[in-house]
Symmetry: C2
Subunit: 328 residues, 2 copies
Amino acid sequence: MANIQQIAQEAGVSVATVSRVLNNATSVTQKTRLKVKRAINELNYEPSMLGRNLRKSESRLILVLLPSISNPFYNEIINGIQNSSIANNYNILLCETDSKPERENIYFNMVKNKLADGVISMDPTVNMQKLNELAKNHPVILCSEYEEGGTIPYVTIDSELAAYQAVKHLIRLGNEKIALISSDEKFLYARLRRAGYERALKEFQLPIRDEWIYHTKELEFQNGVQAMRMLLQLEEKPTAVFAVSDTLAIGALKALKAESELPNPIAVVGFDNISFSNMTYPTLTTISQPMYKMGYLAVDMLMNSMKDEKVESIVLDHELIIRDSTMW
Amino acid sequence: MANIQQIAQEAGVSVATVSRVLNNATSVTQKTRLKVKRAINELNYEPSMLGRNLRKSESRLILVLLPSISNPFYNEIINGIQNSSIANNYNILLCETDSKPERENIYFNMVKNKLADGVISMDPTVNMQKLNELAKNHPVILCSEYEEGGTIPYVTIDSELAAYQAVKHLIRLGNEKIALISSDEKFLYARLRRAGYERALKEFQLPIRDEWIYHTKELEFQNGVQAMRMLLQLEEKPTAVFAVSDTLAIGALKALKAESELPNPIAVVGFDNISFSNMTYPTLTTISQPMYKMGYLAVDMLMNSMKDEKVESIVLDHELIIRDSTMW
DNA sequence: CAATATATTGTAATCGATTACAAAGTAAAA
DNA sequence: TTTTACTTTGTAATCGATTACAATATATTG
């Protein structure tokens, strides 16, 4: 593969001139510009980004941290990030941490090593201390999951309010025994959604019972199935369930279908509005997050952060999508 | 951020020695090694990959091309690719082409520009001509979708045989009117799966009727819903359906549930065994591809290709997973 | 101890671009 | 035709590492 020297030689000009042509600098005559372009075509030349990046000390790559790509919740956010990045002439590196510190370290090092220019983290399992450390010297934005009272800018929704509204919806439908399927409360979103759940129950003077609150280890479908099975084994069964994610809710629905001898249907509300939530039977009532927008904005914020502008955190609006799982 | 010069100065040695310590070269005394390490810690130094990559003319990045991350089919493959890459000290760049040539060009240029060392393409919509061109100078492996009679090594399954077996299963259950929900036949997998479908029907002297073959534009759930609706409007309705992807099959199931006045249930078989396929109602009978393995092997093949070894294409085994959608 | 072999360290070129500054060329003004 | 102002081009330093080769230090041998 040819390099800039060879082009310069072929075109009979200096490397500086070739570089100017490559970067559309103004001060190059039409005539020399043509000579250079001809040489470029002749030798099938593509400028090396390695050289350019080293000189400019940038990689135009954004790291996107997420625990696992298999959670469909991230799909639309990633779409937003992707489109926004490309519009800004950046590319993204999707980084599955699998919630493993070793993996996380690899990616943090990439940033320190200048292999990436900034980070958007959607990973609730991220090591916040290390991330804060990184954020001192590098642009970092949190997307969806964030740190309360932290210094890293974030874009998210009001999880507490959303949960409150979801549960209130169940109450309005006449449910008094409402269970919660949540994940690990080390995650902020889980704590917030639980808080919303409790606020709604308290407001209507309904009991908050420990055995109606189930914590799963992960967010896979199977965890939802498992959780629902446990709830169905209780002596006093709930009549409705609020799950902190669609994946859990869908698992719960599955477990309910398997249980043929239920006197009354149990209502289920999920969270995220993943595309599959409209394909289940019954279709799932859920909270819709503006995922695409969230991703898009996260990149905007990162770009501003790179320009050393002050970046304000953003809280976006959500929406309750009412489907069959609360009206069968 | 400190650079290698400063470390050399701080430690009172030459840059070469620092580099040797960084790369665990043998010929460094314990004493100087310590001096250097102390300086590294002192100045909080992280070597710049930009410099290293330029010098070594490699980026240790693999591009993974796929049309869209929202298709859950790719999840497990990506997992395999990811794990295998990390084991080989590479990172992957997930590249959604959205089936747009502009996007594709961006990524191809990254390879030409030395920003990535190789490509694994899972994108059926890829421009094969350009990819072949790229493959002349850079390592490329095809994963899942491939080119018949092409020169780029691939890892895949026998789609024709799998489809044949899926349809044969439907025939054995007594179905004689079997529909096909396929995608665009510009994709090889679609042509192969249709061929398998037709082979099974012919073998049992069953009719191949054009109105029972529906082609969707995309692979989203909604396309499956749409396809099934059309099939249900036919005068002579099929009693079973084979869909070339789980997403389409799941959409079809959804459309079937919506239709309450069916005299007999319609059996459905999908393809891919995505994780959702076990969460639908009824659960989906499908063909399971060894997705993780496929991804893992693709990286192995790429590594060999980078070492300029000859790489043989691989056809892996599949499996028919029988669930409720063919026995209700 | 001197001569030689070996282990350790340093010097400087190199990867491929960008860019400040200098030099040469061209156009405009005197 | 000079002189001046402005454009265009070239020279060489630079980004931050690796590494061939040279130089020096240390160990081994006779």
